[in-house]
């Protein structure tokens, strides 16, 4: 059996199989990007949301937090923090106070740094988190705690 199964056949399976499944992957990717606008609500991406995403990146928030489960596992999930911390009624007020109170300096507790954002920047970041929370991510996370 192992004599009849040659290196050439193994090589053909490798090249053929890889190309075949890569093409399927590209086709599914194409379809997914066509479906995405229904789920990501990109029509709600305002200039404030765009600035908020830039602030999110420029301060390396992903280095401690997760966003839809991706990132570091050191600090809370933030894709649903908008809903967890007050939503439409209270999130922005909570968030502004929270950002300004850092670091909390509770002995032994994990410390969030002070990023020195101004009110406009904190509002942009809040808008980014609000928009993120409203995307349809197939109903993840399982509960409000993220």
């Amino acid at each position: 059996m192992s004599e009849r199964f040659t290196k050439g056949m193994a090589r053909n399976i490798y090249y053929g199989g890889s190309v075949f499944f890569f093409l399927i992957f590209l086709a599914l990717t194409f379809h997914t990007t066509k479906e995405m606008p229904k789920r990501d609500h990109r029509e709600n991406i305002t200039e404030s949301v765009v600035r908020g995403k830039a602030l999110w990146e420029d301060n390396n928030c992903i280095g401690c937090h997760t966003l839809i489960g991706e990132g570091a596992y050191f600090a809370p999930e933030l894709a649903n923090v908008y809903d967890r911390r007050g939503g439409e009624a209270g999130f922005k007020a909570f968030f502004n106070g929270w950002m300004k109170a850092q670091p909390l300096n509770i002995p032994g507790r994990r410390q969030m740094p002070q990023f020195n954002l101004n009110d406009q920047e904190i509002d942009d970041l809040a808008e980014f988190l609000k928009w993120t929370s409203e995307m349809d991510d197939n109903n993840w996370p399982p509960n409000i705690e993220g």
């Binding site: 290196k7 193994a10 090589r11 399976i13 490798y14 199989g17 890889s18 499944f21 399927i24 599914l28 379809h31 997914t32 990007t33 995405m36 789920r39 990501d40 990109r42 991406i45 949301v49 765009v50 995403k53 830039a54 999110w56 990146e57 420029d58 301060n59 390396n60 928030c61 992903i62 280095g63 401690c64 997760t66 966003l67 839809i68 489960g69 991706e70 570091a72 596992y73 050191f74 600090a75 809370p76 999930e77 670091p103 300096n105 002995p107 032994g108 507790r109 994990r110 410390q111 740094p113 993120t132 995307m135 197939n138 993840w140 996370p141 399982p142 509960n143 409000i144 705690e145 993220g146």
Partner: protein, 462 residues
């Protein structure tokens, strides 16, 4: 005693040495982070966790890249049976990459990240601030330039020489590495698209083209230490990487479950990633089979140990621990918990850190002019390093898994209102984090033994 077949293979040496220096840095920052998990204010605000983590993960990626490059410069000329196209280019690229790497790490450590983003012009072409892709855009461009020069050098070498399966597979893997890295430059303002294509770098690297690199290096070392017929080894190399790509490409779907994607990814991702452990299992059978069928007793026992060890640990870390949380209904609860961290640690160590140490173990005695193998004492020290690091990593993984299971139980499974908050849950996991830190110290001891093995000499008989 010079045992190099081609003198230009010597350019691999600085790559390997520098990789080890970065590896030590990676582990030290890992230990710091482990402490920050339980004593949050351990270094005050001096090194915030996000900085330590960025240094830890980026050092890992960069030392593995140095290791892969060293491996390629070592094995491509020997496989092609010709000298490297340009040793000078290889050395020049070494210094460029090393300087860019060191400057970037120093930038992380001594400049606030937002300032680093600002002075490197991130607002002109934003690519920073995404997990594993934190490097300033200018560093990313540098990586592309180094990769192009590297691929050109190897490509020219292979073109004028013998085109073995090992060389072709390695080249495909390295070209894939460079091509998929280009997605690092695509950062749309729409987070949904950003995340989707971010995985084209991250997943298609570690569960795609890097497996080709690993397979090629393992096949090369197995041929050398066992003397088994090349036809046999290369045939199974093709079988294994065929399985790896056939499962791994659509296996990308397991990262798309909770993005803004159609639900069919939950089926596609679950089915194909359930197959992903198979190539790793095949790799275990293959490595042990080839060593059992060996036609020579190679004096480098340590290299053989690494080759067997990497297959087993890659199977456990990438295969078994990957499968643990890859099915969509399970992943719904485990996604982004310490279970992910457990899997990440053992998979990277087993598949990639260990394959680099496999080729180093085989090649370094030759590169240093020691001969076919280090003296017995040095090999024993190296094997102490192997076992301490590997056992340390097994326990790091087990403790993180324990933390992850408890985290899911307390924070994810209960309904809203009854579930514990993230921070309250973390307090409950402290014992696991302390044990993980102890296992981390064992790992460091292993690394010290491993580094020491390079300096151990045979006892002088008086």
């Amino acid at each position: 005693m010079n045992t190099l077949k081609y003198q230009s293979q010597a350019v691999a040496k600085p790559y390997f040495i520098f990789a080890m220096i970065l590896f030590v840095g990676q582990i030290l920052f890992g230990l710091l982070m482990g402490l920050q998990y339980v004593v949050g204010d351990i270094v005050g605000g001096l090194i915030p966790f996000n900085v330590a983590r960025m240094v830890h993960t980026n050092l890992l990626i960069v030392w593995l890249l140095f290791g892969f490059m060293g491996a390629a410069y070592y094995l491509v000329p020997e496989e092609a049976e010709t000298e490297l196209h340009s040793p000078k280019l290889a050395i020049a690229l070494f210094w460029i990459f090393a300087a860019a790497g060191v400057l970037t790490i120093l930038g992380y450590l001594f400049v606030p990240y937002a300032t680093l983003a600002h002075i490197t012009g991130n607002d002109l072409w934003p690519t920073m601030g995404r997990e594993f892709l934190e490097q300033p855009t200018i560093t990313k461009i540098g990586i592309v330039v180094v990769a192009l020069g590297f691929l050109y050098n190897l490509g020219m070498t292979i073109l004028k020489g013998r085109k073995t399966a090992i060389n072709m597979v390695l080249m495909t893997g390295l070209i894939g590495l460079a091509v998929f890295f280009l997605f690092a430059f695509y950062n749309p303002t729409n987070l949904a698209l950003d995340k989707y294509f971010w995985w084209f770098v991250v997943h298609l690297w570690v569960e795609g083209v890097w497996e080709l690199i690993m397979g090629a290096i393992l096949a090369f070392v197995l041929i050398k230490v066992t003397g088994v017929d090349r036809e046999v080894i290369e045939k199974w190399l093709y079988v294994i990487i065929a399985m790896a790509l056939i499962s791994g490409i659509l296996g990308t779907g397991h990262h798309f479950y909770w993005l803004m994607t159609p639900a069919y990814w939950q089926w596609v991702g679950s089915i194909f990633s359930a197959i992903e452990p198979l190539p790793f299992f095949a790799m275990v059978l293959y490595a042990f089979n080839m060593v059992n069928r060996r036609r020579r007793e190679h004096p480098n026992k340590a290299a053989t140990l690494w080759a067997l060890g990497t297959s087993v640990m890659a199977f456990l870390g990438a295969g078994v621990w990957g499968f643990l949380h890859t099915l969509a209904p399970v992943n719904y609860f485990t996604h982004g918990t310490q279970i992910t961290a457990a899997h990440g640690h053992m998979a990277f160590y087993g598949a990639y850190a260990m394959i680099v140490m496999t080729i180093m173990s085989y090649a370094m005695p030759k590169l240093r002019g020691v001969g076919e193998a280090n003296c017995n004492r040095a090999q024993v020290t190296e094997m102490w390093g192997f076992w301490l690091m590997t056992v340390g990593m097994v326990f790091i993984t087990l403790f993180l898994t324990g933390a992850g299971v408890l985290q899911v139980w307390l924070q994810r499974l209960p309904e809203s209102g009854e579930a514990l908050s993230f921070m309250a849950t973390q307090d409950k996991l402290a014992i696991f984090y302390w044990l993980r830190e102890i296992a981390g110290v064992v790992f460091l001891l292993g690394l010290i033994a491993y580094i020491a093995s390079f300096f151990v000499k045979e006892k002088q008989v008086a």
